[in-house]
């Protein structure tokens, strides 16, 4: 296919609390590593996109000032938890439009104490009731009219699935976290790298039923980057670069279609199913062809429903799928062998690039102890509220 796009460079920083570095350091680190991996420099780049959910204004230009101001077009992107994937897509679309044939996409976030968005935010004290906003509220409604906290929203998504399908309960959700924490013990870049027993997970502090603390992703700091080229440009590159190149077989983005409940409770299922169906069709592959999947497990309850949304299990069979260890690294379809958001970490802007880094690394056969043997096809999925979903299907270069 003449208009195929290829990843020739990929990197990620360790995900953890980087208290000795600022957010620019992290983005620069990932950018330069991806460029080195591609055998290129900023002078070769024709377009750049920088994703961060929380950095203000022209943050991407601050990165350019540290690594190379060459006058190229730059997109500053924020799109909730799909921010990184949206940065990648911005570069893909620029190349596909014929405006560039090589570009750099970076995703970064610093969420540790001290970074701007995580300083204490208190609602202003209102001494006299006065209607605010589109619902005319006179008091903050969190905790009074249900919850809108992320851990509560995704918890409700889980109990909705459990209501509709047999064989799904607290234990099935907990098993997801058991798996992801086990997987991250093999990933030196992960924020947590220790196993948690099922019992330990189920008896930990409850955040919002059915998710206990180790079933929720941590906040953290990190960055990831990829270098993308057109097929025409790829043909001109070194055989060593071509050999390690990874094909982008599908790049899909969706937002919420209207559903009657979506206005009061985010629907993370419908747009994921739409994106998955489009991606499989574009790539000409099905779920059974996938050697590994990195999906958006911000909470254990989210991962479980996405087994079904991404068609990794029988319809309604997500509980049975985790019970038979289908998504374990030695199971039918390995899911989140990096540790996923739950255990690898979730610096928001970095996540949608880091999952591409993970799959690319396996497809290149360079994932070390956590390598999925002979991986040929992988899928990445992110979802941000409310709501955007991005899926990429990646394939190893034909040898």
């Amino acid at each position: 296919m003449s208009d195929a796009l290829w990843i020739i460079g990929a990197s990620m920083t360790p995900f953890r609390r980087h208290l000795d570095r600022d957010v620019t350091d992290l983005a620069v680190d990932a950018s330069l590593s991806a460029l080195r991996d591609a055998g290129m420099t900023m002078q070769d780049m024709q377009v750049m996109a920088v994703g961060s959910q929380f950095e203000p204004y022209t943050f991407g230009q601050q990165i350019q000032k540290q690594i190379g101001q060459t006058g190229i077009p730059l997109y500053n992107v924020h799109n909730a938890c799909a921010t990184g994937a949206t940065a990648v897509r911005s570069v893909l679309m620029e190349i596909r439009a014929g405006e560039a044939d090589v570009g750099l996409a970076v995703g970064v976030e610093q969420m540790s104490a001290g970074s701007a968005p995580y300083r204490a935010q208190r609602p202003p004290e209102r001494k006299v009731f006065e209607p605010q906003g589109r619902d005319g509220h006179v008091l903050p409604t969190e905790g009074v009219l249900g919850t809108g906290h992320m851990w509560g929203v995704f918890a409700q998504t889980g109990t909705d699935y459990a209501r509709q399908h047999d064989g799904v309960g607290f234990e099935q959700f907990a098993k997801v976290a058991e798996k992801n924490h086990a997987h991250s013990t093999l990933n030196p870049l992960a924020q947590y790298q220790r196993p948690y027993s099922l019992d330990e997970i189920m008896s930990a502090e409850m955040m919002a039923y059915p998710n206990t603390l180790p079933m929720c992703c941590p906040t953290g700091d990190g960055a990831a980057a990829v270098v993308v080229v057109s097929e025409a440009r790829l043909r001109t590159l070194d055989p060593d670069v071509r050999r390690r190149a990874v094909k982008i077989s599908a790049a899909v983005m969706t937002t919420d279609p209207y559903t009657p409940s979506g206005d009061v409770h985010p629907d993370v299922n419908t747009l994921t199913r739409m994106a998955a169906d489009q991606a499989y069709e574009k790539a000409g592959v099905g779920p059974q062809d996938l050697d590994l999947v990195e999906l958006h497990d911000c909470f254990a309850s989210a991962e479980l429903v996405h087994y079904d949304n991404l068609r990794l299990c029988e319809p309604g069979g997500a509980g049975a799928f985790i019970d038979r260890r289908g998504p374990w690294r030695d199971g039918d379809i390995p899911v989140n062998v990096s540790g996923g958001l739950i255990s690898k970490g979730h610096p928001i802007g970095a996540t949608g690039v880091a999952n591409i880094y993970e799959v690319v690394t396996h497809l290149r056969g360079e994932a070390g102890d956590r390598q999925i043997a002979d991986a040929k096809v992988g899928l990445t999925h992110v979802i941000g509220l409310v709501s955007v979903c991005a899926i990429h299907i990646l394939e190893r270069a034909a040898s």
């Binding site: 209102r126 001494k127 006299v128 009731f129 209607p131 589109r134 619902d135 005319g136 509220h137 006179v138 008091l139 409604t141 969190e142 905790g143 009074v144 009219l145 249900g146 919850t147 809108g148 906290h149 851990w151 509560g152 918890a155 409700q156 998504t157 109990t159 909705d160 209501r163 607290f170 502090e205 409850m206 955040m207 919002a208 039923y209 059915p210 209207y258 009657p260 409940s261 206005d263 009061v264 409770h265």
Partner: protein
Amino acid sequence: MAPLRSRVPRVQVPIVDYLVLGDGAAHLVGNRCAGCGATYLGRRNACASCGGDDFERARLVDRGVVESFTVVHRGAPKATGPFVSALVRLDDGVYVKANLLGVAPDAGAVDFDTPVRLQTFVAGTDEDGNEAVAFGFAYEGDDG
């Protein structure tokens, strides 16, 4: 001798404007799209389903069933402790999010079959003594 200023009378105001306290029993109101019937809580510019911009104010029914829930521990208000957040599908098909009232903060206390009915409660008081009235849902047969 009469006081120089009469005391400001204490009033009750709804916590959100889609809760109506007067006009008979407390109830919810929505903006219903005249074109397709999609119904929204709160102010609208146009319909997310069909794009129409003609809305009618619709009184919503006060009964429904729980479709999903969670028991929130972390981040729950200190005064009340863990609470049950629920997505309720009203009998007229409109969805609303609220707390379940009169149930223990325990997953085992929630069922999806027994109908729930709207109840109101005072959620806060301002410096003039005005009360903000909120709503939740309680299982039928419970007094909340």
